[in-house]
Symmetry: C2
Subunit: 156 residues, 2 copies
């Protein structure tokens, strides 16, 4: 094979791919430019990305146990413990032990929490719509589909 195939142009002398053409960095950059657009709204309302993610998942899933919530929100258990403390202190969520299984913590949004989401939802949806407009709805769908394929391929 010739010394400079397409794939070779993406590698260095040690067999490492060029950093900008690697999944870890590309995915990180992509997430970064997307989140940039949401940060102003989140900061204006004194919530972090992660707190917002936790509340979004709770709104979507209803009351759940902490493990499920951590998984869906992509947050590690130790982080969730701290985030729950913060959000509970703010009155946005409520947690209590599972009667049936004393190990589990059941978590749910309070009315105040749901109200908070309702207020921010329009802004959030609009920001996402702007992103969709710039990238193209179909491109996003394709990207999400490919990511799902990646998840299925690697999680097995």
């Amino acid at each position: 094979m010739a010394p400079n195939t397409h794939s070779e142009t993406h590698k260095d002398g040690f067999g490492l791919a060029r950093t900008h053409r690697t999944l870890p960095i590309a995915l990180l950059r992509a997430r970064e430019v997307v989140m940039e657009r949401f940060r102003p709204m989140l900061a204006a309302n004194d919530v972090t990305e992660q707190q917002w993610r936790v509340m979004r998942v709770l709104e979507e899933a209803g009351e759940t146990d902490a493990s499920f919530l951590a998984n869906k929100a992509c947050i590690l258990a130790p982080s969730l413990t701290r985030i729950m403390r913060t959000l509970e202190a703010r009155g946005f969520l409520q947690a209590h032990r599972d009667e049936a299984d004393g190990r589990r913590m059941l978590v749910g949004l309070t009315e105040e929490g749901r109200s908070f989401i309702r207020e921010l939802a329009p802004q959030s949806a609009q920001i996402y719509a702007e992103i969709e407009a710039k990238i193209g709805d179909q491109n996003i769908e394709k990207l999400l589909d490919q990511i799902e394929h990646l998840l299925q391929a690697l999680e097995a």
Copy 2:
């Protein structure tokens, strides 16, 4: 329009997309399953993802200033300051003020740092190859291309 188009099936009552079909969470999950495969190697060699990323970029770019490095490695300046301290203490990189511009810090790998990368490169390349095998080389290329498109669309 009918009340349940394809796009509507991805939204909730507030106009928010279902969390698992949003870019921020999908990109995060994707990155997570990819990094899972690298973590054992990194942990075994006592480097964090970010430290490894910094060294990879330095190996690729040669001596550069801190801002360029931070940008390429997707690391914020304050984090880079700390990471540089760690890596310099370990003897993997060296930093010194730019003679021409007293504000800039010029950073480069030491011979020990380059040697460290050479030792890990084969393992890293092999892990990446396994990932490629599971996802498919062409699928990864497509994914990277779409991410580049996303970056161009949103960075402008």
